[in-house]
Amino acid sequence: MIRRRSLVLGGLAVAAAAAAGGGGLLYLRTKGGKPLIKIGGPFALSDVDGRTVTDRDLLGKPTLIYFGFTYCPEICPTTLTDIGQWLDRLGPKADRLNVIFITLDPERDTGPQIKRYLANFDPRIRGLTGSVEAVAAAAKAYRIYYRKVPLEAGEYTIDHSTAVYLFDKRGEFVAPIGYGSAPDRAVEQLTALLG
């Protein structure tokens, strides 16, 4: 049990490092090609209209997941813009992909807030939120690091993992796309994912 726990904790750091490098995750696979660390798992959240969405609803199609928050000044809007550009380049094929944005700031990012925010990005991006606990559980399942940082006057910002994660249609983790990744490379990864 103890051994298992330390393995999981170690995995967190490695997953973060791998996300940064993009290709670094190769080192985390066994000879059979199976990832050593489980990224992804059960979650139960709500879409922007309050309907429940779970990990099971994503099965059957490959999935792209990005965690962020709408108060994010730079990284999140840039990433969502990038995702929209990748989808445009994929053309109609992109319709075979689940594209999910999960907030790390459920206290401020309610369904209506995310809905208004996402209106400016590709309509195929679906926003998810939930209770503080439900979001924490989803972030944990996906090995997403995040932390609330207080600012003045009761405001706060959130430090967080910035990679986009790709999963196959069975929900198995495939690869990350690092922040600032070359668009050609990202489109290549998505094309491979869509088969």
């Binding site: 750091a13 108060y71 000044p73 807030q113 925010y117 910035t162």
Partner: protein
């Protein structure tokens, strides 16, 4: 007669800016990131030059339609984005230039009353420890994609 007034005004302006230039921080290549609707935070960037003989410190500022203007630093380590307010301000060395740019130091615009729309501009008043208040009007722009560099 008209021409004389013009040239007198021009001379006057030059004299004022020459005086001001001795101590007032210079704000160049500035821009404000356009925000999606419903975004509550934005950012401004520029090159900040201190032509003075003593270091100065950028402490914060104000802008219309923005609840709070803070100086922040962003960093990216192992794929994790971190952002911290510079509570003691940002030091600009005497005769030096500090760049506020995406991925690094920036002016954080918190509590937007309305979206910052590309093509419009934002009057931003910056507060310095020594130079006091300096106002610049910055264009609002849509930034290039992250992978485009």
């Amino acid at each position: 007669m008209k021409r004389m007034i013009y040239s007198a005004t021009a001379a006057c302006l030059i004299a004022t800016s020459a005086l001001a230039a001795a101590s007032t921080p210079r704000i160049e290549a500035g821009w404000v990131r356009a925000t999606p609707p419903a975004a509550r935070a934005g950012a401004a960037y520029f090159n900040l030059t201190n032509p003075g003989k003593a270091p100065d410190r950028l402490l914060g500022g104000s802008a219309p339609g923005v609840e709070r203007v803070e100086v922040h630093e962003m960093s990216m380590t192992d794929g994790i984005m971190r952002m911290r307010p510079l509570t003691d301000g940002l030091v600009i060395p005497a005769g030096g230039t500090v760049a506020l740019k995406p991925g690094g130091y920036h002016i954080m615009l918190i509590g937007l009353a309305r979206p910052l729309k590309a093509g419009e501009s934002l009057p931003l008043t910056l507060r310095f420890e020594k130079a006091g208040k300096v106002t610049v009007t910055l264009p609002i722009k849509t930034p290039p994609a992250a992978g485009a560099h």
